[in-house]
Amino acid sequence: MDSSHSTKESGDIPIPVTNPKSSKAAPPPVVAATTKKTAKHPLVSRWKRGLGIIDFILRICAIAAALAAATAMGTTSQQLPFFTQFFQFKADYNDLPAFTFFVIANAMAGAYLVLSLPFSIVCIVRPHILGARLMLLVFDTIAVPLVTAAASAAASIVYLAHNGNSDANWVAICRQFNDFCQRVSGAVVASFITALVFIVLVAVSAVALRRK
């Protein structure tokens, strides 16, 4: 377009230069370098960054859900106001091993999520780094069965506590320990929500891993 303009950088907008070389010394190369980088991958960085932001927000929600489940289960203790000589009418989460595992597993999941927040921020700020994304995928894939196992083991004990089982002679205890049962059921629901959020996090990482 202009014979006096040198076309060394290809992403440049040709600016008509009337003065000789002294006016085009420093500014044009800097502008050209940044426009060249984003001109090649504008859409890719943008959607990967968007996925990273979704990932970060979901991680914060999962932290809240996992810690809520662990504390709701860990602070249950109900004592009935009557007692006999042989039978103790106190229900703790310690009495049932499935509930102990539930508290430990949800606490571990919450701790892992807090530790993985910096990696999530790295994936937002630098979306082309695949190593951080792959590491998040690996650890999220390990966390999904852990949280699912804890939630579903506790759910099966809670189901038994609500309904009992006449074939095995296991009496439903929820009629007596009503508060305990309600709190524990709420904790199980929160843990299932955590597991669901983890699955969505795995899906986000898988989609964001694709190089385009």
């Binding site: 499935a98 699912t148 579903s152 083991a153 099966s156 004990i157 009496v171 898988a206 891993l209 694709r210």
Partner: protein, 179 residues
């Protein structure tokens, strides 16, 4: 600039090896989950004494967690058999990206379902072995010994299936990131 493999339209050679490994791992997972579903579904133990009011027979139907386990294992083994087709497609066409993402998502859902079933059954098996005396739930394994042994053995196959599914997910993730 040096042309990358993506620009030439050819997958890196390791992706085909990953797809073959994926296929064999899927076969192992099918065997594990199918065996555990069948072992749990064919449990039936009758004690040699009876009374007029109480029935002394144990089947997987009697406990809802075991029913859920059998259903979940069967669904996951049916899914794994059907996903062999997608796995063969990945061996043949090693640079397919969208089907790999789809396979990863479906594998995650299947692993979650299988783990849920296994954990529910494990909780009941642990209860049947030890019992919880504080809430008057006594252990039933001393009477129904064969039933307990068979149920515990079938859980091993399904946990092996879960481990193999985790490996499959990680393989798909690695194959997606190699370009």
């Amino acid at each position: 600039m040096k042309p990358s493999a993506l620009q030439l339209g050819v997958a890196p050679p390791a992706n085909r090896g990953i797809a073959i490994l994926d296929f064999f791992l899927r076969l192992i997972a099918i065997v594990g989950t199918l065996a555990s579903a069948i072992a749990m579904a064919t449990t039936n133990q009758t004690l040699p004494f009876f009374s007029q009011f109480v029935r002394f027979r144990a089947k997987f139907n009697d406990l809802p967690s075991f029913t859920f386990f059998v259903v979940a294992s069967s669904i996951v083994s049916a899914y794994l058999i059907l996903s062999l087709a997608i796995s063969i497609l990945h061996i043949v066409k090693a640079n397919a990206v969208n089907t790999r993402v789809l396979l990863l998502l479906l594998d995650t859902a299947a692993m979650c379902l299988l783990m849920a079933g296994s954990a529910a059954a494990t909780a009941i098996v642990q209860l049947a072995h030890k019992g919880i005396n504080k809430v008057n739930w006594f252990s039933i394994c001393q009477q129904y010994n064969d039933f307990c042994k068979r149920v515990s053995g079938s859980l091993i196959g399904s946990y092996a299936g879960v481990v193999v599914l985790i490996l499959l997910i990680l393989l798909s993730g690695v194959a997606l990131s190699r370009r």
